[in-house]
Structure formats: structure tokens, C-alpha cells
Amino acid sequence: MYDLIIIGAGPAGITASVYAARRRLNLLVITKDIGGQAAWSGDIENYTGYQFITGPELAGKFEEHMRKFNIPLKENERVTEIKKIKDYIWGESDKGSYEARAVIIASGKKTKELGVPGEKEFKNKGLTYCAICDGPLFADKEVAVIGGGNSALDAVLQLLTIAKHIYLINAAANLGAEAIMREQVEKNDKVTIMNNTQVKGIFGDSLVKGINISTGKEIKTLAVEGVFVEIGLVPNSEFVQDVQKNERGEIKINRSNETNIPGIFAAGDVTDVQEKQIIIAAGEGSKAALSAFKYLAKTG
């Protein structure tokens, strides 16, 4: 049985693992990938100590720091369930099952899906959740960006120099993004903003050919070869049923990163912590590790 299992290796999980390793805990990290959302970020200018660093570079630094401690790491592995049994926590993944005296959930957030027909079928076949990755493939093509917040407008701004025309499909009556981004998008005639419009489906053959949209009264089709889904994020918290969550599915924690179940701690973007920032996630990870250490000392 492990002392501590950390689920996730983004800024929160990695920082927790470094703190736990320095306390010589018998430790395991299980994660789908390394770096989490930080690895997907563009330029970072607010992580103290780095006036400027890119997401992949910062994620690389985090990983290097973790590797220095030779922490046992199961990468490419997804936890499917955890629950408390008597005085320990049992967990299962897509590759095995585990037992630990304490767990830190630091599984972060993932991009939200539209939930419309054709979405799964055309994923990576013209439909993408990563504008920064796949945007350049749509040179001189007509594309649609779905969403109206900062990430949607960020995608539009990235695509302005690449795509031929951009339809911005926004379900709300107005764009929710920051004014400075909104103004840049609104004044550009390469962009058609469609508010009060919902996506009903994605269609094509081997690749995307278009989308069906609804303005309330009628359903129209829009011929596009690229669909960029940017409608926000959801916490990766579905594998744990018994902990309390808020209405957004974020795990509720107290100031010591404890959940309502003794022995289960949580940190970073998967929790109801006020702000979602790399530096906050890292700090929360260290707090969770120290709380878990105290819990283990007390219950050992």
C-alpha cells in the first residue's frame, strides 16, 4: 500500500509530488499526461521568476523538477474510480488497481464538448479543441469558431492571419470576452459574428464539410472545413463520486485542501479554489501535500 497517490501531473500534481518526495513518502503519481493545461498554454508572463516563458517550456521545467526525485510515475494512465474503504483509499485505472492511505486529486480541467451529432466522428477531422495546435492546417479555408468567451476570441485572433473567413458562433446574446479582444474581432471584416446561434450538428464525409446552426426559428447550414470548439472547461472529477462538488462539478475543499472525506485531498483547477492560475495551482499542490503529510503522521 502506498502512503500517497497523486492523480494528475499538471502544476498542482507535480508540485505536490515534489513536496511529498522531499518528505520521503512512499509515493505514486498516476496521470494522463505531464504538464496538464500549462503544457497547452501560449506565452506565460505571470509566473514569478520567469518574466517570459512558454507553456511547453514551463511544463518541461516542472517535469525536470519532478524527475530529479525519481518519483514513480504512471504516465498515459487514466484513473476511472476512487473510493474510501475503511481507513484506506482504493482506486482503479484503465491499467490496474491501487491502494493508498491518502490521495491527492489534481486532475485539472479539460475542454468542454458541444454534445452534438458528428462531434466525436469528426474530432481531429476538421473539428479541434486546440486552435493553437491545429490552426495552421486551415490556411485559406473557411472555418467556424464556437464560443464567445476569451478562449474563443483568442482562437479567432490566432486564425485571422491563417483562415480565409471566420464565423464566430456564439450561443449567448453578446460576446463575454474582454473588451480589448472583442474590439479587435468586431472591427475585422474577415469575421462574421453570429450571436444567439447554436450549433446543432457537424457534417462531412472523411473530413468536415460544414455545420448545422440554429438561430431559434430556423436551422441553417454553414459550409466550413474547420470547426474550433472553445466553449470553456470542465473539471476532471467524474471518477470520484463520494466527495462533495459544487454546481460546476468542482471538488469542494477547505483551506487545508481537505475534501469531505478524510484522506482524500484535492488541489488546483479540479477544485472550487477561487482562481485558476498556474501559480495558484502550484501553491495549492504544495498545500495539499503538506496537509496529506500531516494526516499520514496523525493516522500512521
Binding site: 498554454s41 507553456g55 504516465e75 477531422k125 492546417l137
Partner: protein, 78 residues
């Protein structure tokens, strides 16, 4: 004999950067194809992998989609 490795990527994609760094760290020589500026390479990538997500790594004809470290290691016998 060394295996022939091709990486289809965009300049902006974080996992492309990390996939290429991983190959460099393991002293694997590869051909770097920017599918954002090279339309022929983009079409070749879509044909080979049946999809448009980057990175796509071709190791002696074995197509790996995404930065899948385990599969890359296996294909390269690392």
C-alpha cells in the same frame, strides 16, 4: 539500420515541440515537416493518418498520432 522518422507538426503546437524535443533527447534524427506552411506535407499527413490533428509521427511507416511516448518508444525500440 536507423529507422526513418518523419514528424508532421505546426510551429505553434505545444505537443509537437515536446515530441521533437523527446526525439532530440534520445538522439533520433528526423525529418521536420511544417504542415502549416507546406501544403503537400499537410495532405500527405491527412492521407497517412486519416485525420488532421498534430503531431503525426511516421516511424518507418508506422503512424503515431499525438505525442504518445509509449508508442514512440516501442516503435524506436528505446
Amino acid at each position: 539500420m536507423d529507422k526513418k522518422v518523419k514528424v508532421y507538426s505546426t510551429t505553434t503546437c505545444p505537443f509537437c515541440i515536446r515530441a521533437k524535443q523527446f526525439l532530440k533527447d534520445n538522439n533520433i534524427a528526423f525529418e521536420d515537416l511544417d504542415v502549416g506552411s507546406n501544403q503537400v506535407a499537410a495532405e500527405e499527413m491527412i492521407k497517412k493518418s486519416g485525420q488532421m490533428g498534430v503531431p503525426v509521427i511516421d516511424i518507418d511507416g508506422e503512424i503515431i498520432i499525438g505525442f504518445d511516448k509509449d508508442k514512440i518508444k516501442q516503435a524506436l525500440e528505446l
